[in-house]
Subunit: 314 residues, 6 copies
């Protein structure tokens, strides 16, 4: 199978050990983007995956790509002139409950906001079994939103979209309006339960929500992640559920994207939905045990964890 | 409202990550004093608060003040000549259960032990709505104990005292004897349950303890903190209770002083006792999620946490 | 004397130990602004100084102010709504020769770019003995440039400007055009030799350059810093020179602004030019021995260093 | 009492904070050997203990001994020429559940593999009340296995062996075959439940297992550790059980060896089995609260923890 | 041009800040191999370069490749089973003069020692313009030495060898004997002056040494690096010399390999020898300003440095 | 030979990287005492050395001894009850020129100030070839000064004293008065040139100073260290001089004590003065290349450095 993902990957700054920016001195830098984490996860689990993007040719843009390469991901990047667009940045405060995590978006005027279909190696899209992008891309600019639509429409196989909704980027209404224009070119919708409820302005139980969304927007699959409550999927009139694996979490960031990457990799390999959800949940659980959004997941351990579940199930 | 606190703030050294001094190489330095944390908390929650103290004019004394300023606290410090008194120091080993935390006091011959009322800007005391000090100040020297008494007696509004009892500073008997001379000038007594039982040589249930102490010493309010068991307060014949907010704690130091600061800030603003205890507990919980005794608490998040409790209560 | 400075202070990120962003994982955060460092230096050397600015009310904006307070600086900040303007950022790679330092400016759409004179506490300007700003402020927007002019024109005493020219912010031509409109309101011009040559498109020896600039633009004083080559000043037809103090440098950032702050503090106190230059050079030298643009300089050691020079001179 | 232990102590490298070697940059170095941790624990709890070994006279070999000395352990080391044998190394990835810890053994051709009885100060063995070694020593080479047997047979008092089985060193079958030759010279067998089941190819309940092993191999005592499930011991037809002390664990490494050291110290002092198990469990629990396999345990706190259990038991 | 390099890359451990292993606690991990640094340098300077090697499929082997990928190097690795060979390790103590650096080799029984020509993608060798290896590879085993010879002989274009002699790996005599068998298949010999003198048992001036070696072994080019004394090259009866660029060195490791990579890249592009030496020296100088053997060198800055030299030369 | 040293060893706190306490967050802890560094150096260079002292039985006192043991030093410590005396502390700011280093002494009421001869294992003194102490010990209290005198007088062999004068401990006059009472029991006086001039209130050239001091106080040897200017010694009417070895210094602390330890070790072994001074200077130079007052010096490298000097001298 071959997976192509595209979307903006920000450079994330985060103080360590529960500190806040207000009084921190040292911060950690990490590449942070749904599309790149999805591709990296699929690739580490044995898939043939590549990430397409546009970045400024600056130390910050090169920093993003160096980390993706370190994790073994193949990239195909349009390098923008330094004056042509900024590197997208995020500032993240990880917090223990009951303090809430805080994510500051600083992604105005980024290079990715200027991406046009003509800059992309379109052959990669046209030869892919699965094409994936994140809704956040459409928040960057009208150009970016149009490019996202054009690329999805050019994709011959399965088209997957993650809502990837962040209040700091745009409002739920704006997200809904813009993304609605893309939905006809989307076969599989991923979302966290919270994001789905916000963007689609829905309430109700997850089992009903996946059904409603599939019906309303004619998605062939809808997959809702619910953190420690597991994942719920709709496909072909059937609702599938998978419990989350219990973890002594180190860092919860990246778990959703890891699930998406593992699910896409298994689906593309022809696995049934339940199997794909199990792999996705295992990948998410293992990702939680390692720091950073992008983690050195290993295929064998994902498989072992899935099997340990089957063993218990017997 | 305006709050004035006075008391010694030590410089605390602590090895990271569960290490002990015996084999540690690097230690973290933090300003650590009940009176300054109380004022800083009240100030960050919107109050007009200032901390008065006496410190040696050395790199260590200046270090204490720099950290307080970083957190936005207004200070009014009598700077002692370097030969005139040491900077008080504490050495702290934070331990996971069942290992006990260890706090080594090294506070002999400090500058604060020589503080006389004449050195203090008395106008600040006389214009304050609330004056607060910590019992530990009276442990430093007879001079310091007398000064504490003189300042409390000069205060026109509410006078609050925290027991702040540390076995390494003096015995429970000595604390009781010395502090008893101050109690007539105290309206509101704060204490942790353990410290109250040690100093007053009492046993029994917290609800009864607050009642007994108020009756015996004629305090108008007694507020007892009980860590994860919440807080119990006596006021005007009524006993109030507030549960603790559950936290995935990062560092438990400073939580008691944060509660005191938040409670004083709310009481001074005219809030009823229950409301003040809720704010205090929320401030304590959020403080536990951040490293260090002094934390960059934010007013809005304390309010959100208090509201989330009210929501659940409905 | 009283000094008021205004200008944008960025949050600077820099990898440690000669690393580059491309492969770094941890970066250090520091407040980095000429106007704030000038005020902080003057304040630490005994002056009465305050820094005025506009910052977004976000964790990043608050971070800048917390560091300035930690160093003992008084601030008066207009807090902008988070959506109203970004926090200015810089990304800095410190390099050993022959590798060149690299400074990436990321200061588009900052809160400070929207500052109007009406937002500023104008009384502070009108009561100041000396008012200082940095040329970089005029690069942020036409609004900011106009505000800078308005404030300088409202100042009743000495008006000082530092060129503070950064190629990543604007071109030398643009800097010259915009700043030229301010020069009539400037009594004292500071610049590094390199920046002066670039912005004024001049060559030649520093002694001649200060003379030429003073004549051409009618500055009463021109002070040119030349790093390890010392400083050259023009005042009242006389050219003054001061050698640099030799240092085993730890971090060269902040040395120029420290010199400016110390010179302004001495001039405002009525010291003759030679004396002010000696203090400025000593402050710059000591700043080079400490990490970061903003350093905990002490008045006594600046004086000792100036005296050691006088001793050697005899 | 006097305890002599012998065995290889590896130098362990481990990335911090849940990271993996694949993407880590900094790793922590620690001495890691069952025999040295057993001796160090006994010594810190008041015993007279020494550790015998053979190490290469290289920076790595000296590193191991420096850390043991820092913890107060007496050592008697045969220093091998640098070309004569390597320093044993291990590479450890500590993982939060459900990710499994990973321990890579790199202990081929070590100096210890060449140890012969003639190199050992045999008087130390002959005068010891208790001699202890770890089964891993026999995995290093036939020479090392023979030396282990010779030393145990030369010991006049109690002879104790810990299985110390690591799959990366040898197979369970090989371990069983080689160690079986030593069992006649062993009075007391320690093992973790998992290791015992693997090496002896047994299943079943721990209470039965200790009985079976004692009967089959004629051990006078068998002590099985079960992590959070406590410890089970067989002695003189009686099975003893001790619950584990609950801990908020920081680092689980070293807990088994700490238990063994504490148990041996108490048994050698003539304490009854139940008492020894309580001390061992307390030592294990406290070791879990500190980083590293070798921890600065204190005798007084072990005693306090044992007493707190007795108090609860009443 | 296309460059193929092959050779073992060790994982290097080094304590920071002038510390020694004996008392260090944290060490830094870096990929350290001449062949991979040569290829990475050529690649970063615009060349088409790939590194071939054999590594164990363990966390340590994967660590090496992840770092190479992070620096943008293309790799083609034969992954050995974990039991089939170790990851080569080095332990390095960087020392300020007059203390000598210390490099401990721990490279017995590595996976690379088992590499046979049949495992290598021979097409890469046969299509390369330049093939490079390091003499250290031949020290690993007779198999590795034979493989090195076979690959060099299969190369159709320029064959380059770096002596890469380390006393901890083998003796000078053994190195000379084994490498002599390869020399007929080598066109270009690189060596540091010290290594050349040791292996070839020569004394005398560098200008004569390059001449003698070329004549004796029929190399078409000999390039001798002399650290701060520059580089000397022989080609076609002419001796070329290039001064070293002065640097405020951060870390001297990797400078020789960076020079080799830059020289090969320029020669392959058809540049004359003097030009290649200038680029090589500039690459070495910039590498010294960054930590680690492998550095994020940039093509533009190498070119600027070379040009700055030309400017001065005029 | 056997060397016994006694004196107080403080626990030193120092911020890293040129930082000051005022704004530092993390500080490094090191054992810092002349007597212990002298003994440790002699021991690492092959001598039989032990350090005697009195320390509080607290985490801080144990920390001092753990570090000394890590460096291989034998200690014989009188453990004082925690209430009986503090652990001596120093606070150190290492500064690049022209900023001056800063050393804050916090050594009032230490355990060592109460040491009486009866507490010391007097047999160790009586069997030593050389007994050494530091003048700072006499500054602690009259008791400590008397004990120092009593121990020196009980020593049968060579008695050596280092002035070890620190202005923060006592005045030069007080030092002179108190130490003068000890001089009759001192054969060999060590001092840095600056300290000697301050305490003895002398000026003049070092060659004359050693002569004068020996004559005035009847010392058989006087050895004056002059940092980068080498060392000057007087013995038996002859003045000896030794140049300093040039170093790229990492940390200058400990170099004087390392020289003293190496000189004593060589003298006790019967080496001539010139030889002892060469060893001392080499030990000092190597110590400067490693962080901390106490460094893992190796005998072989001291010898190599001494020989390299002899080679150059030929």
């Amino acid at each position: 199978m071959s997976l192509v993902t595209f979307g903006e990957t920000a450079l994330r700054f985060a103080p360590p050990d529960g500190q806040r920016f207000e009084t921190a001195r040292e911060v950690r830098m990490r590449a942070d983007g749904t599309a790149s984490t999805v591709a990296a996860t699929a690739s580490r689990l044995g898939g043939d995956a590549v990430w397409l993007s546009k970045l400024p040719d600056t130390p910050l843009g090169r920093r993003v790509v160096a980390e993706l390469h370190e994790h073994g991901l193949e990239t195909d990047v349009v390098w923008a002139d330094a004056d042509d667009g900024r590197q997208g940045l995020t500032f993240y405060e990880d917090a223990a409950a009951p303090r809430a995590d805080r994510l500051l978006q600083d992604r105005g005027d980024t290079a990715m906001a200027t991406l046009t279909p003509g800059e992309i190696p379109m052959g990669r899209i046209q030869n892919a079994d699965v094409v994936f992008t994140a809704g956040s891309m459409a928040a960057l600019s009208a150009t970016a939103a149009e490019t996202a639509g054009a690329l999805l429409r050019a994709a011959p196989g399965m088209r997957a979209l993650d809502l990837d909704y962040h209040p700091g980027l745009w409002s739920a209404e704006a997200a809904h309006d813009t993304l609605s224009d893309l939905f006809d070119a989307v076969d599989l919708l991923f979302a966290s339960e919270d994001q789905a409820k916000a963007v689609f302005d829905k309430t109700g139980r997850p089992r009903e929500l996946v059904h409603t969304l599939a019906a309303e927007y004619d998605f062939s699959r809808v997959i809702l992640t619910r953190s420690e409550h597991g994942v719920v999927a709709y496909h072909d009139t059937v609702v599938h559920e998978q419990d989350a694996f219990e973890t002594a979490a180190v860092d919860s960031s990246g778990q959703h994207a890891a699930l998406v990457g593992a699910v896409l990799q298994r689906l593309a390999d022809g696995a049934p939905t339940d199997d794909a959800l199990a792999y996705g949940s295992a990948a998410a659980a293992l990702t939680r045990t390692m720091p950073g959004p992008l983690t050195p997941l290993e295929q064998a351990e994902v498989e072992r964890l899935v099997e340990s579940q089957s063993d218990r199930g017997r």
